[in-house]
């Protein structure tokens, strides 16, 4: 099997907050890569730096040291305006709980990035996405009139419409019930398999992570391992080896 093309990568990535002795290194020299056309999950205990990693990969945050590459572009070297353009044209976002503009219809939300850039969206591709995600009859509705699952599917359509180089998903199933969550993961998986889309997802949920092609583990701001072809069981035990034990039940207050 030939090594797949790299869609995005972090090389010696450091992100420190604060200065001097009080500085906190959320990322402390992380090197990893996201293969193109694959589904990567990023996991790790709270405070492991996975959110910061996602922000850096998405061009939302600038590294203190090291490089973040999207294709051949070093995102850390770009100015604010250039990074904004990269986010608009080359990255798709799916957040926890939709994050749609409440006053725009579902359809308008899907076209958001294209219309910000002053472009007309690709009609055929839009129709295909909307059909595939099963939201064709919902486009005129406001986000407030949609279910949580429908909102997330609108967000996925918005993310994919521009054929971005990577789709960045932050706990996409976090606010969904089990059934809607499973559906959404299936749809994301389908986008990777059928359209060759690159997806990177941060999650707490071993079940969600098991849908991916590889799980990257983080601990204390450093890369702590990689798990290929994960299953819920292997993810749980890998997390256990990280010394966190995955999702432990919260202690019952007396």
């Amino acid at each position: 099997m030939t090594a797949p093309r790299v869609a995005a990568a972090a090389i010696g990535l450091v992100r420190a907050y604060g200065e001097g002795r009080g500085a906190v290194r959320a990322l402390d020299g992380v090197t990893l890569w996201l293969p193109a056309g694959r589904f990567t999950a990023v996991m790790g205990p709270s405070g492991s730096g996975k959110s910061t990693l996602l922000h850096c990969l998405a061009g939302l945050d600038r590294p203190t040291a090291g490089q973040v590459l999207l294709g051949d572009t070093d995102l850390g070297a770009l100015g604010e305006a250039a990074r904004t353009a990269v986010r608009r044209d080359r990255i798709g976002f799916v957040f926890q709980d939709g994050n749609l503009l409440g006053h725009l219809s579902a359809g308008e939300n899907i076209d958001l990035a294209a219309s910000l850039a002053g472009r007309r969206p690709d009609r055929g591709w839009r129709t295909e996405l909307v059909d595939r995600l099963g939201i064709g009859d919902r486009l005129r509705h406001l986000p407030g009139e949609l279910s949580g699952g429908q909102r997330q599917r609108v967000a996925v359509a918005r993310a994919l419409l521009g054929r971005p180089e990577i789709v960045v998903a932050d706990e996409p199933t976090g606010a969904l019930d089990t059934e809607s969550g499973r559906e959404l993961l299936g749809l994301l998986r389908g986008c990777v398999d059928d359209y060759g889309q690159t997806v990177v997802m941060v999650t707490h949920d071993p079940l969600a992570a098991s849908v991916s092609d590889q799980v990257l583990l983080l601990r204390d701001g450093t890369a702590a391992g990689r798990l290929a072809d994960p299953t819920p069981g292997t993810v749980l035990s890998a997390l256990g080896e990280l010394g966190t034990g995955g999702r432990r039940p919260a202690p019952v207050p007396s």
Binding site: L60, E80, T84, R88, F93, L101, L104, L116, D170
Partner: protein, 547 residues
């Protein structure tokens, strides 16, 4: 609408879907526009009425222009107050939308696209408020005139020239857009990461003392310099203008230093609130959003200050007018040779005066003195007023004399003073209304944002009346922080104004000033009534839910 960028489209769609908030945001501008349009319609009507029977159109134009100029000073003040209020409401509204703005930035809206969307929203808000205000003013103007005409008062019909109201609407749009500029720039700076749930501390950030203190100090120095220059100028009108300018510079200094002053005041009030949890909460909140609190309190200080200056000024002018009557009319009745009936010959006038004095002196009800050609008549002690009147009428009238009753002059003067007081209170009152509205709106919007926090406090055991009390206390603090400097500085500027035009300074009307200050605090609490009702209805469980 397809042509707009989606940020703008979202903002405009937001106005359509949530008109209540737009109305709240633009309320201050609406009131100011009612005022400006009303002034324009009034002067247009006045011009037509005067021109109808005037032989000299040019002097009419000059008169009307000076009336308009006088009115526009007050319109300008109300607009400035409205601008500060609307600027503050925009900041609150946008703070609440931080996540949405961040989302736009995330998916690729540039800073300027976000900024422009806020400015577009401001323009639409200003347009709505401006048109609303203009319509209210025109309708109210027509109604007033119709009512006056029906009740038999001779007033001319209303004149509506479209240019005036249109200009006022444009002014409203410009004022609102200008007010929104700082918020719009701040909106553009919202970091995109906020969309992913990172805390955003834009509003919680304290005022920047390093930037504000030097600027405020410079403005205060300018205030003193301009004020001192004003007192040195001999020309009364120029002096008054400089004193007024100094007052406006001082207001600018208050706007700059406001957040720091509010924070300081909150710190000073903390010991007073130590024993009551709701009061502590109120003080902490006023301090936490000191920029927001300051915006409303400085406008309140402006309104209160203008009113206080007016009270002192009118007190001084009234005392001066009364003193001048006592000086010029040394007796209750003056009998003078009538200039129209008598030749302007000195000896002849003297003869007329002497004859009148002799006739008057025969009456036992009167005490008569003469001063040159003036016959000064006072009632005898214990004389019946009606008898005095009859005596003067029979002996003083006719024969080429005119009779002046000092009491009538006093009554005329009091009437003029009363009219001046009423009109100027009305003119200044608009600014006060804008300020109080601004306080109410700011508090209402702030509380909406704090619903979860209030619910949490309720869940932790804050009683319903405790929550209401905290809101009332917060309103009272804001009222106090606005009223006290307003009364003190305003009274000071009233004194300066009197000095500038050379009127002796009276003992300050302490009762009225105290009443003004207390009244404002009470009105501030009343303006918070709706917010108090709502805060009482917040369910404790709300704080545990997400979103």
């Amino acid at each position: 609408m397809r042509a707009l960028n989606p940020a703008t489209r979202a903002a405009v769609a937001g106005i359509r879907r949530n008109p209540r908030q737009t109305v709240l945001t633009g309320l201050a501008v609406l009131v100011a526009t009612v005022f400006s349009t009303g002034s324009v319609v009034f002067t247009d009507t006045l011009r037509e009425a005067l021109l109808a029977g005037a032989p000299d159109p040019e002097s009419v134009s000059a008169t009307v222009a000076s009336v308009l100029a006088g009115l526009s000073v007050f319109v300008g003040l109300a607009l400035i107050a409205a601008t500060v209020v609307v600027g503050s409401t925009f900041r609150i509204v946008l703070a609440r939308r931080g996540r949405e703005l961040a989302l736009l930035r995330c998916v690729g809206a540039s800073r300027s696209q976000v900024t422009r969307s806020v400015l577009a929203e401001a323009a639409v808000t200003g347009l709505v408020a401006g048109v609303g205000g203009a319509v209210v003013a025109v309708v109210a103007g027509h109604l007033t005139i119709a009512v006056l005409q029906m009740s038999g008062v001779d007033v001319p019909g209303p004149v509506l020239q479209p240019a005036g109201p249109v200009g006022c609407v444009l002014l409203a749009v410009v004022a609102t857009v200008v007010a929104a500029v700082p918020s719009a720039l701040a909106a553009g700076r919202v970091p995109p990461v906020v969309a992913l749930g990172e805390a955003d501390g834009a509003e919680a950030r304290g005022p920047d003392a390093r930037r504000r203190v030097p600027l405020a100090v410079m403005l205060v120095v300018a205030t003193v310099a301009v004020g001192a220059r004003g007192l040195a100028v001999p020309d009364a009108l120029g002096a008054l203008g400089l004193v007024a300018l100094s007052g406006m510079v001082l207001f600018a200094a208050l706007v700059v230093a406001g957040p720091l002053l509010v924070a300081a005041a909150a710190t000073a009030l903390r010991p007073l609130a130590a024993r009551s949890a709701p009061a502590r909460l109120a003080v902490a909140n006023a301090r936490r959003v000191s920029r927001r609190t300051a915006a409303t309190t400085t406008v309140l200080a402006l309104g209160v200050g203008l009113t206080a200056a007016l009270l002192v000024g009118i007190e001084g002018a009234s005392a001066d007018a009364r003193a001048s009557i006592e000086r010029n009319y040394p007796a209750e009745v003056l009998v003078l040779p009538d200039d129209r009936a008598t030749a302007p010959d000195r000896t002849e006038r003297q003869a007329v005066a002497d004859a009148a004095a002799a006739r008057l002196a025969e009456r036992p009800e009167l005490r008569v003195r003469t001063d040159g050609t003036e016959v000064l008549v006072d009632p005898a002690p214990g004389a019946d007023p009606q008898a005095v009147r009859d005596a003067v009428a029979s002996a003083g009238d006719g024969a080429g004399t005119q009779v002046i009753w000092t009491a009538e002059r006093r009554a005329e003067t009091e009437q003029v003073l009363g009219t001046v007081r009423a009109v100027s209170t009305g003119l200044v009152g608009v600014t006060l209304v804008v300020a109080v509205l601004g306080m109410g709106v700011t508090l209402a919007l702030s509380l909406h944002e704090r619903t979860r926090e209030i619910a949490l406090l309720r869940a932790l055991g804050l009683t319903r009346s405790g929550a209401r009390y905290a809101v009332a206390a917060e309103a009272a603090i804001a009222g106090l922080v606005g009223a006290v400097p307003g009364v003190v500085l305003g009274a000071g500027y009233g004194v300066l104004g009197l000095l500038a035009v050379g009127i002796p300074v009276p003992t300050p009307p302490a009762g009225q000033l105290a009443g003004l200050g207390t009244g404002i605090v009470v009105v501030a609490v009343l303006a918070a009534a709706a917010s108090m009702r709502r805060v009482g209805r917040v369910a404790p469980a709300h704080g545990l839910a997400t979103g």
